[in-house]
Each structure stands twice: as C-alpha cells, then as structure tokens.
C-alpha cells in the first residue's frame, strides 16, 4: 500500500498511458501514485479504469461513456475512432479496488465509505500490510472523524486491529483481539489461531483463547443458520416446482410428464418479456420480472389449457395413459422450444435488486434471489391453498376430480372446471419457471431436471395433500443440504433418494396419508 500524501499533483499523459497500457507491475505502481495524488482528473481516470471505460488511441488515453469520449488528461472532448480498450486483469483489478477503497473512504458518499471500509478491513485481515497503518490512522484522525459514520468507523478500527495484532504492543494486541472477536469470520479465526501459536504474552494469550471461543460460537451459529437457509431455499425451489404438479397430478390425477416443460415455458416467457423490456422499456428493465409473472402464468396456463382440451380430457379415469400422452407432449414441447429458440441456453438476467446478497453474521451471505424466491414460494403457496381450500372453484375442482360424472349431475360444468384446474396447475408451473430462471439454466432441458424431483415431492407428501407437499419439499431440501454438508453433493442426492424409499416403507401413502376408509 501507499502512504497518504496530501499534496495534489497533476496527472501527466505519460502516467495515463502507462496506467492504460503498461506492464502490470508498472501500472500498479503508477496507480498507487495517482490514487494518493488528490488530483480529480487522476481519480476520474482510476474510476474509469475500474469501470473498464478507458480506451487508448495512439498515445492518447480516453475515457469513454457510451458515444462520447474525453481525453483523460485534459478532460477535453475527443474522438474514440479506432481506439482500443485498455485491458484489465485480475491483478490490476485487485489493485484498482484497493485504490478505489482508499478514494471512497475519503470521499463523502457514506455508503461507499462503508463499503470501502469493509473491503479494507477484510483485505487486511486476510493479509496484514503494515504500510497502510499511517493511512488508517489518518482516516481515524480527529479531522476526519465526522466524515466516517459508525459502521464505517468500526470497520476501520477493526482494520487497525488487524494490524495491531501483528505489530502492536501487548496492550494494543489485547484491544485488537477483543475488537476482532466481534467479527465472526473464518478469516478472523484463521488469523487469531495463527497469532495464538506465536503469542507469548499471557494476557494476550488469555484474550486470544476467549476471543477464539467467541468466534467459534459465532461461526457455528452462522454455519447452522447458513445450512438452514440453503435447505429452506432448496426446499422453496422444490416446492415451487411441485406446486403446479400438486394440482395437475395430486388433485386431478394426471400423471403429467410435461409438467417440467410447463415450467420451461414459464422460464422462456420470462426470457421473452426480458427481451421486450430491453427493447421497448429499457428504463423499467429492473422491474421486468414483475411483468413476467403474469405473462409466464398465462403462457403456461394457455399451453396447459390447450393440452387439456386437446388431449387430456379424453383420458380422465385412465391415469396411466396420461403418462404416455403427456410424455409425448413433453417431447413435442421440448423440440418446439429448440426449433424456436435454439438448443442452447438463453440468458435471463437477474434485475439488480435480486443480485448480490445481504451479509449477516460475519460473512454469511444470503443471496437476494434466494430470499425473494423463498418469499415468492410462500406467496404462491398461500394463494394456491386459499384457492383450493376456500373458493367455490377449488371445491368444484376437488369434487370433479373425485367423481366426474356425479359432479356433472350436480350441475358443475366439469369440462370447464377441468380446463381451469389444469390451466391453473400449469400456470403455477409457469410461475415456478420465472423463479427458476433466476437461479439456473433456461434451456430446452430445464423441465427435465425438475420433473423427477417434483413427482418425488408430491408423492412423498401424499398425493392430493397440499400440506404434505410443503412438508416434503422443505424436508427434502433441508435433508439434502444437511447431508451435503458432510458427504458431498453426489452422496447427498443418493442418500435422499434412499431416504424416500425407506420413508415410503413406513408411510406407504406419503407423509400426509389419507386416513379413514377412503384411503
């Protein structure tokens, strides 16, 4: 790291060119100088480098924003005709990030300050670099105090603690240990453990032992929470994938092998909506997913309705034949998507608010897309439960699926109810497709990877039992992630399947067996 220098120095064309095009080591050196120069032009150039918006035209270094380009040194408008991009590799990118952290810490954007401070802290915990100390002290010095908000200030203090831990006196070390103990991260644990091996001072040693225990507790807590979260998250995905099937199969008895393809249709609908937004509503792109929900629901529901009207309605009461016919439908749908969209995957971007994650308990990151999907699954579940359990349509669906001719004799338009019900189940599959497009592939095979899991969930829960479906999805998600924790992904998957086999032995009708005479 470089030492903070107060005096401003202007950016020279030569420096700019080295930064843009030189050998990596030279570029890093130049950047170090520039970052501390206090020259706004230099700061602009560094930030542009980090955005990868720098180009070189002959000897001239340009900052390019869309169509317009300016000379990096003079700030004058320039032409980007024939310019080539300045390349950034990881090593340089790392240095750039550190430089930006330095700049941000002294800037006046509180959010950036906080992020910069955290980044600084983490990098110092991982690799203590004593040369940064003066700079930290500077940042903490009285004239800057007002500039750092509480969180950022704490992070900088923690960064200082990381340095004190290695280079401070005994008292500083004890303070450092106590400060760091609150940062429940694996890297802190590693650092403290390393220190403990070298430490001779008894007071520090005692503090270390205490801190280690504290960090360990925090880590275990975080680990448990993390595992629960991943389990619930996997469960929510299984649930979403299975909910539609819980209707088309669980209630209606259609062994719908095309269920996965209905999910796929939902995902492709998302893709199409994304494309439309990008083209016609780029300003609202962040919110394209909200528009995709109804579109995907309707698209899948429509396909489902057509399937029901065209094929499935002739097969009620012959469940095993629905297997054959829907298998055929699934082949057709898959190849259809291949013909229209190509065999390769298509890109579905997550909107900004679903990217990244929230950091809790040290360095446990809970990704936003997972959190959103858990909430979404819950919402869909509640909606389905209400619809099936509390509405007249739900009642008709249940009645019709149990005894079609008699329901008709009661005055229920069974054909229409069947179509609605199947379309509803299909539409929910489409909604699942929207969610799945945010975590995995969107391609013609998308459905195939979920169909088996979906059936397992519905059957394990007990056919026709919505509550069972929920328990099964969550149970399998948690179990899978728990086993994966110590046996690896492959064995976990096998173990879960074996578990299903054994479990069904104990409960031959699934978790929520229909009790009573009609079981």
């Amino acid at each position: 790291m470089w030492v903070w220098a107060g005096a401003a120095r202007a950016l020279t064309p030569q420096e700019a060119l080295t930064l843009a095009e030189g050998e990596t080591a030279d570029r890093i050196a130049v950047m170090g100088r520039l970052a501390t120069s206090g020259d706004p032009q230099a700061e602009a150039l560094i930030r542009a480098m980090a955005r990868e918006a720098v180009m070189v035209r002959g000897e001239q270094v340009l900052i390019v924003e869309g169509e317009t380009a300016i000379d990096a040194v003079t700030g004058a408008p320039a032409s980007a005709e024939g310019a080539t991009s300045a390349m950034v590799n990881n090593r340089l990118r790392g240095a750039l990030e550190r430089a930006l952290a330095g700049l941000d810490l002294l800037g006046d954007d509180a959010r950036r300050q906080r992020e910069a401070a955290l980044r600084l802290r983490d990098s110092l915990i991982a690799q203590p670099d004593a040369s940064v100390m003066p700079w930290i002290e500077n940042a903490l010095a009285s004239q800057n105090v007002s500039r750092l908000d509480g969180r950022a200030r704490r992070a900088v203090e923690e960064a200082r603690a990381a340095l004190w831990l290695e280079g401070g006196d005994a008292a500083q070390r004890v303070t450092a240990v106590q400060t760091l103990a609150h940062v429940g991260q694996d890297s802190v644990r590693a650092r403290l453990a390393q220190r403990q091996e070298q430490e001779s001072d008894p007071a520090v040693k005692a503090a270390l032992a205490q801190a280690l225990a504290q960090v360990d507790r925090a880590l275990i807590r975080a680990q448990v929470v993390g595992q629960l979260f991943t389990g619930v998250s996997l469960g929510s995905i299984l649930l979403l994938a299975a909910l539609g099937l819980a209707i088309t199969y669980g209630l209606m008895g259609v062994i719908n092998m095309a269920h996965g393809e209905l999910i796929m249709i939902g995902a492709y609908a998302t893709y199409v909506v994304q494309g439309l937004f990008r083209q016609y509503l780029p300003g609202a792109f962040e919110w394209y997913l909200l528009a995709a929900l109804p579109v995907a629901f309707l698209a899948a529901a429509l396909v489902g309705a057509v399937m029901e009207r065209g094929v499935i309605r002739w097969l009620y009461g012959r469940p095993l034949e629905t297997l054959l016919a829907t298998w055929g439908l699934s082949l057709i749908l898959m190849q259809g998507v291949r013909s229209v969209f190509g065999a390769q995957n298509v890109a579905v971007e997550s909107p900004g608010w679903m990217s990244g994650g929230v950091v809790v308990m040290g360095d446990l990151t809970l990704p936003w897309n997972r959190i959103v999907i858990i909430g979404f699954a819950l919402a869909v579940l509640v909606a389905v439960a209400l619809l099936i359990g509390r509405t007249r349509l739900g009642l008709f669906v249940r009645g019709v699926t149990q005894n079609r001719p008699i329901a008709a004799c009661m005055g229920v338009n069974t054909a229409r109810v069947d179509t609605y019900a199947f379309a509803l189940g299909s539409g929910i599959a489409g909604l699942a497709g929207v969610a799945l497009s945010q975590v995995g592939n969107v391609g013609p095979d998308l459905g195939q990877s979920y169909i088996i899991d979906s059936f397992m969930v519905v059957v394990l829960g007990g056919v026709g039992q919505l509550a069972g479906t929920v328990y099964a999805a969550l149970g399998l998600g948690l179990l899978n992630k728990f086993i994966e924790g110590w046996a690896g992904a492959v064995l976990a998957k096998i173990a879960v399947l074996v578990f299903i086999i054994v479990f069904i032995q104990k409960r031959p009708q699934g978790i929520f067996a229909l009790k009573g005479r009609q079981a």
Binding site: A325, L497, I500, I504, Q505
Partner: protein, 381 residues
Amino acid sequence: MTATTTTTPIVLWPAKGPLLTRSGWGAVIAALLGVCALAPVLNLWVPVDSPWHLSDYMIGLLGKIMCYAICALAMDLIWGYTGILSLGHGLFFALGGYVMGMYLMRQIGTDGVYGSELPDFMVFLDWKALPWHWALSDSFAATLLLIVLVPGGLAFAFGYFAFRSRIKGVYFSIITQALTFAAMLLFFRNETGLGGNNGFTDFKRILGVPLATPETRMVLFVITGLTLLVFYLWASWLVRSKFGRVLQAIRDAESRVMFCGYDPLPYKLTIWVISAVMCAVAGALYVPQVGIINPSEMSPANSIEIAIWTAVGGRASLIGPIIGAFVVNGAKSVLTVHFPEYWLYFLGGLFIAVTLFMPQGLVGVARTVLQRMRGQAGGVA
C-alpha cells in the same frame, strides 16, 4: 354345498383355450424360423450387394430391439397383468448388462490401452487390484448365474419390503424411480469401481471368441431371438394359469383377493422377481451386441420408455408390448436418420395418437380390425 340342491344343471364351461391359438403357434414358428434360419442366411451367406442381403447394421438393430422387446414383455407382466407400474425396470436391465459387462471387461485381458490385467479405467484412477465385487467376473458360468442372482436378489429384497409395507400404485412407481435414480448416481461415481460415467466399452471377445465378427454377432442375435420366444411362451403360460388370474385379480381389487384367502405378497413378489430377471437377461444380451453399458441406462427416462413401449403396443396382451417395442424403437431408428430435427415431433405425436385413438394400443386396433373383417366375412357367408 348342501345336498338339498336339486339336479346340478349342465354348465357350458368356458373353453379353456390352449396356450396359443393355431395362428399364434404359426406366428411363433415363423418367428423361430426367421430368427434361426432366415436371418443367418440372409446376413451371412447372401452376398452383400444382393437386395436380399440383411446388413450387419440391421442385425445389430434388430438384436437390440429384441432385447427391448423382452423388457417390454417383462413390464407387461408386472404392469399390464398385475397393475404394478415399475418406473425402475431400467435398473434391472442395466444390472444384467453390468454383470455381463464386467465379464466382457475381464475378457479384454491385457489387450487394453494400458496392457494391464486391470480394466483401463482402474489403471488410470490408480486402482491397484480388482475390488471385491469383481471377484467372480472371470468366470462365464458365474456371470450367467449372477445375471440372474444380482438383479433378482435386488428385486426380491426391494419387492419384499415394498410389498410387505403394502406400497401401491404411484407410491410404488415413485420409489422404483428413486431406486434406479439412486443407482444411476451411484454408478456414476468413479469410486463405485464400475467405470463411472463411461461405464464399460471397447469389449473384445466373449468366451474367447472375438465379438466384432459377423458370426459372433449372428450367434448373439439368434440367442436373443430364442430368448424372446421362450420368454414369450413362458409368459403366456404364466398368465393363463390360475397364478396369472390371481395377478389380474390383485390388479382389480387387491383387498378382495386377501379376503379370498390369498396372500398377495408372494404373488406380487414372484412376478416382480420374474419380471426383473427377464429384464436382466435382456440387459445381458444387449451389452455384447451394442458394445457399451453405462449408467445412463438407469436414467429414469429409460425406465419410463419401457412402460411406453408396453402401452403403445397394448397392455395385458403379451404380443402387444413386443410389437410396441419394435414400433417405437424402429420408428426412432428410422426417424432420427431421416428427420434428425423433427423426429421428436413424430414420436411425441405417435404417443398422443396411440393414447387418444387406440386405448388398447396397437394390438387393440389390430383386434378390432380383425373382428370387423371376421364379422364381414361372417356376414357374407
């Protein structure tokens, strides 16, 4: 019953038909001749450029499809007649194939890429000795035994527990699917010692005889054909016995069967194991003919396909599934060549058409057509 009943009336007994009808026997004999005489002659002795020549490619294709037909027949016994839909029969097929594959791997001897006694994949994954489960793979006799015992044993154990727990219907289907899926993942693992994802391939000889000769291929073809015929006759006999009727009764009303004093467990278990073993034998015949066995044979989709051949041909008629296997796989072979980009539409369409318009499968259609023709003929006469 009590003697008070007046005279026992004369009842016309339903004619207990012979095992096969006259035309049925005719077809069996024709098939026998076709497989054992016609095919070898057309393939081996008729010159290649003659229009009558039956190509090696066709022999390979037919041999493969006959193996599938055995699977479909086995599926029919358990699904069509007993009402138990297995979505895991691909597992038994694959296990039979793996047992045979292990033997064939050992037959490679030191002719492999690494010239080691061990199969190649073991060499480059640093295995120093054959793992225990390869112990008997050297012996052909043991292999034949294991082809029956391994899948049969697994089917027995699995079936015993499942049927004892009275797992039925879709619950049974799903756990069979889970079973084959789990096995697939297990076999994918390289640690399992069965070649991982690649499985076994590059076989050289069987019983010391090179595999890649037309003669060996023809012998395998004939054996497959004979096996199919024997299984067909055996299955016919089974379903016409009282045993077969109990199976159908179980399919229709299992609890009533119990109240009649039958314990369904041994019945289901027997047919389940028979069916599994049939598949295993098919798998064992399949591997030397196609030259590869790997875990994708255990993928759930493959098992579903077996059920599909059966349904297309027509359940609960033994000839139906055989026809189904030929039609679906034949269609696949032809269509993937002539319409590589559209064949799935045709195949999918075929499945839909069969379910919608031929609820009894192809055999049902044939039956109605035959009946119509007979009816007309009768009308004229």
